[in-house]
Symmetry: C2
Subunit: 711 residues, 2 copies
């Protein structure tokens, strides 16, 4: 029965995590939708409704021109006449900025006052925690609550940030909290990390409605060590979360995914060239972004700027809102913009912005089939406007995101990156289309784009936007398989997996050429978390002896002798050092290694010994042998010997001094250990800790080894 | 430039593997199609065409009733009159068996004469090879060629086997062959295994047209150690292979996948109960199959039966062909049957067997929409026949597969398992539908299946067949995530992922309750391959000292002394033992460990020494120290000392005698080592090899430890 409970508790905990992550995501989505619309106006009858719900079943037109009487724009609320067009615009503009500032300030205060850990995307920290480092309170219930509140506020303030990254952090918080309900998971850090891996998968699953992609994201990007058993449970967790979210139906359609598109047209082989170009540009953008963002974050933490986080948020919000409002593509939130950009232009396509499909109409002989795409035609007046707006939006988004990622708000990076990529992709797609129009007989596409009477366009700019989104996201995060699978789950067609793959590959190559770390690894390094990358290959030829402590000339290694040490010696050793443990050797002469004793265990054992017997004095002898001499009965005043054999770890991991560091790094990453003892011919020589390894790698990579350390 | 070449060679090799695997799969598919139809007749004008290609653009009717004059059934070839119905049937029946026997015998002879390794599915062996064991010639070009020939022959002979498993082996052969083109991969076993992992992914990718599923299959089921870098390359390899296959277009449609279905109707929550039931039945079938098949294979290898493989194939073919022909579901090959069973019944559905959708027609008020499913109605006459035929086919397939998997032919297990599951699922689906018809007001489904005027059926038996296929495959192979993803890629709808997941979960639970190893692990154990499972957790509390050699009472460990041994001593040691290496210790007294010397290295070094200098005699002293005494110049006849320091591995992995076996097993699986040395306080105590670990686990699991060993 207990084994059964044991087996079931694993499934139960991931079920609970999935349910809670799905619920959180659903609530966040709904709140975000409502708050986003508050920038534009209110629903006076039922203020808790957003524009879409408010205008349900309403067809008449308000003074300000929107086709719904129940929803009032801010100018209507203030009783402005529609004739005063400039005044209406000004009032709405100002209210947009004012509401955005209120929302952002409120989010900033929440984070600053209640849960400082709720800022950022959280993915670098979750990654570090999964590698074995402990950050107390980072996954606590306060972080969960505040992040869940602040994320919709920040997104609704129209800052260039997303709630997808924070959802991973929120799901991880759920995982952490629920794992305490089950002693098997709450009390074992390794087991708890299994739950956290599953939770990270659920986070991405609900963020994009992509359960398979979520599991692969957790596997590839977040998790450090992923046993197969965990994979299956993570998948269950991700699917549960996605299912709950779908039942809540925040996107208002039956599709699980965020940007569901179904293209009517296939892609052609010649298009792989522009797709690769999009990929390279995405990669270059990613590399530039990482570089610029890391420099700005470094500047923030070293200058006075870091002391006024709320002010920074305020200024950023004002600039973003003021610059966003005039442009129809940046006025709406970024995910709505992406959803629009990835659409195809068909005679029945329902785009909010009709300019995007405004091509000149050419005379055709046949009537147009609904199932077809649009005609291959020159750019119309509306589209020309849209192109300008997109170009401005591209530059603005690309720049402002650098300054936004890292402020003291929950800041996800998925949607902003995808937004920049989607704009870039759409622009290149339109360009490609015009190229095909201008040179219809070019040998590259003449056979694919047959010039029939309809002259249907063989280029789908929406697909380019999708590919561009993948490329930019790939460039920033350096995701690979999970990126392709997430995007493939979004489009829902196996067919488009090849363009996505091509873009992801070129993006990664181009990005890696200018610095081979993703934004998350960059922030891990910037924050100095002790994270030993398990993806990088260690290619240097150094040996364990080059890395171990003590270095030549250092004072000798602090060790504990099996016999011949007194309680006082040990207490002095603990007091005068900060190491987290000490090797135990047989004798000062032989230096044969017996085991390793953790500082904590030693301290507790010494305290206990003092506490239990009054005869334990500073000059009591401490024995780390199996058979210590029994307490001599001769004199009560004689110091009693202390037996400490059972607190020694008798199976420390050892390596020889000649072991190549390549193998040492492999042992550290795969076994997840924090220190290894170095021996030579059975003699203890020194010790290598995880920090020594990190410092060594930093030195080899010509980075400052001391900047790496967190504490 | 060299670094660039280095980086590119990795991509180039997987590209080549993908291209070749895709090409092999395409050719195999085409050949299989043609050979399968030869059982039924020929295309006299162009004998190399199969029925479908032959009948292209033909509409008239032959004497035997098929609607194509260009294709002749065997009875037509022999000039039988269509009036003699019994005679026609008999001739076609006999020719079916004769052609099947010829094909199977030819396949059997090919395997027996040219490449014995081409038999079986190959997955257990590929798995073992990826865990670090070397089976010479198993992935050679002969195996590739013969398996590629024999697989279509065996499938065409209508034996209960598939070509999907063999495709994994074939792809792995491609991987092995191409890796020799690049020294970086050909000369490094670990690097080669990365290519093999990618190749396995490509194999499944082309088998099912499921690139993502293929990668996950390789990750979950086949590969032992899967670094993230490999994941991305594997994905590229799998996608390339799928793309090549699609360009060859063997299925004659634009979909990549094997059983592409798109259901018009959603599933309802109440259906999770029957889905779970299907899952449990699939799991039980899997457990029973594994048990029965392993017993039969054991019987085959221990009895005389194993000596007549061709005869066995012959008998099996005759029985299978004779029993298959009368039943329309078993007459066609299994993948065609599955493709039919997973279809929906709609007014426009094109099923080869119209019986399957023959419901009684009930009067309806409205005309039927094409997009809808069929009417909820009682079983008609035709469907009643089909149910009987399906039931017979189910029993026959379930039984014959037990005897088929393991004969000396390329025998895949995916399609037969899925076939059994699909029949079972379809039957349960029809039953469920009739249950809904009989009790329309049951509270479980009353709300979901609204009794409107059309009374459209809310149960899709085709979906049950799909779920059943997943359940049975899951029960046999114990795949989890990869199973769901493969099936999900087949159906092409994220919507059906929940039923598939439910079935896979219940199938695995039910299966694990009756023996927790999949068929591949079972065959690995049966064949005694030294495979240390990295998925099983080691839960016992034994220590390294309980496992190491020498045991108490054994002769002492054979060691090499750092000094004081002569060349003759070493040669004697190598001659009288079969160990693959020896620990090197400083002296007989201290037993301090210096390193480890591999038998092969030692032999080569001794031979070289003898070869290069005549003064190296049996009584030459061998030095394993950094500074050996230089050659004394006093006398030429004096035996010259031999320096062997540079062939010693100075960084052997060591564990202490108190290390729990749990950690030792972790070290073995994660670091992929073959032996670890056991020390106590720096003194060498013994050695643990991978085989010792396997023997120990077998003993703890109450299995015969000696049956485990391959050699």
């Amino acid at each position: 029965l207990r084994a059964l409970h044991d087996a079931w508790s694993g499934w139960l905990v991931v079920l609970l995590v999935g349910l809670s992550a799905g619920t959180c995501a659903g609530i966040i989505d709904i709140v975000t939708k409502w708050l986003s619309d508050v920038k534009l106006g209110v629903c006076p009858e039922k203020f808790w409704l957003n524009k879409e719900s408010c205008c349900w079943n309403s067809e008449t037109v308000t003074p300000s021109g929107s086709n719904c009487t129940k929803w009032l724009a801010w100018s209507d609320v203030f009783g402005m006449s529609a004739q005063n067009a400039q005044g209406v615009y000004a009032v709405n503009y100002v209210m947009y900025i004012v509401v955005a500032v209120i929302l952002a300030t409120f989010a900033g205060l929440l984070v600053k006052v209640f849960a400082p850990y709720a800022c950022g995307s959280g993915i670098p920290e979750v990654k570090t925690i999964l590698s074995g480092f402990i950050i107390r309170g980072y996954l606590g219930k306060w972080t969960l609550l505040i992040k869940s509140l602040a994320a919709p506020l920040s997104v609704a303030a129209n800052l260039s940030l997303g709630k997808e990254g924070p959802l991973v952090h929120i799901a991880a918080c759920c995982g952490n909290i629920f794992s305490y309900l089950f002693p098997k998971y709450g009390k074992n850090e390794a087991k708890k990390r299994e739950v956290l891996s599953a939770a990270a998968a659920a986070g991405v699953s609900v963020a994009f409605g992509a359960p398979v992609g979520g599991v692969l994201f957790s596997l590839e990007e977040v998790s450090y060590y992923f046993p197969m058993k965990t994979l299956w449970r993570s998948f269950f967790c991700a699917l549960t979360a996605a299912f709950v979210l779908r039942s809540m139906n925040p996107y208002g359609n039956s599709h699980l995914v965020m940007f569901y598109v179904k293209y009517n047209k296939p892609w052609f082989l010649f298009e792989l060239v522009p797709f690769a170009l999009v990929g390279v540009l995405g990669g270059l953008y990613g590399a530039a972004f990482i570089h610029a963002n890391l420099r700005w974050c470094k500047f923030r933490s070293t200058s006075k700027l870091g002391k006024y986080p709320i002010l920074e948020v305020l200024v950023l919000t004002i600039i973003t809102a003021a610059a966003s409002y005039p442009n129809p593509f940046t006025k709406v939130d970024a995910s709505a913009m992406i959803a629009e950009l990835v659409q195809e232009c068909t005679p029945v396509s329902k785009l909010t912005d009709p300019n995007l499909c405004d091509y000149e109409e050419l005379p055709v002989n046949q009537t147009y089939s609904v199932s077809h795409g649009h005609q291959l035609a020159p750019v119309g007046e509306g589209l020309r406007t849209a192109i300008w707006q997109l170009a401005v939006a591209l530059i603005f988004k690309a720049v402002i995101t650098v300054f936004t990622f890292g402020v003291k708000l929950p800041t996800g990076l998925f949607i902003p990156s995808m937004g920049v990529g989607a704009i870039m992709g759409r622009l290149i797609g339109i360009g490609m289309e015009q190229l095909v129009y201008a040179y219809p007989d070019c040998v590259l596409w003449a056979s694919s784009c047959s010039t029939n009477t309809i002259r249907e366009s063989c280029v789908t700019p929406g697909l380019y936007a999708m590919v561009g989104a993948a490329a930019a996201l790939g460039g920033v995060t350096r995701m690979t398989v999970s990126l392709v699978v997430i995007m493939f789950e979004l489009t829902g067609g196996l067919q488009y997996i090849v363009p996505l793959m091509a873009a992801a590959m070129f993006s990664k190559w181009a990005g890696d050429a200018f610095g081979n770390e993703g934004i998350y690894d960059g922030h891990i390094r910037l924050n100095g978390y002790p994270f030993l990358d398990n993806k990088e290959e260690f290619t240097h030829t150094t040996l364990a002896t080059d890395v171990m402590m003590p270095r030549r000339g250092d004072p000798p290694l602090k060790v504990v002798l099996q016999e011949n040490m007194t309680v006082g010696d040990l207490e002095h050793l603990v007091k005068t050092t900060t190491y987290n443990g000490f090797p135990v050797i047989t004798s000062q002469d032989s230096y044969r290694l017996l085991g390793y004793i953790y500082r904590r265990d030693l301290m507790v054992a010494l305290e206990n010994a003092r506490h239990h017997s009054e005869n334990v004095l500073s000059n009591s002898k401490a024995y780390f042998t199996l058979h210590a001499p029994t307490l001599s009965t001769s004199g009560v005043n004689e110091p009693a010997p202390v037996r400490l054999f059972n607190v020694v770890d008798l199976s420390p991991i050892t390596v020889t001094d000649h072991t190549p560091m390549e193998i040492v790094v492999e042992i550290f990453t795969k076994l997840g250990i924090r220190q290894a003892l170095v021996t030579h011919n059975g003699r203890l020589l020194g010790i290598i800790t995880k920090k020594d390894v990190l410092r060594h790698i930093a030195r080899l990579n010509k980075q400052d080894p001391d900047s790496i350390m967190f504490n």
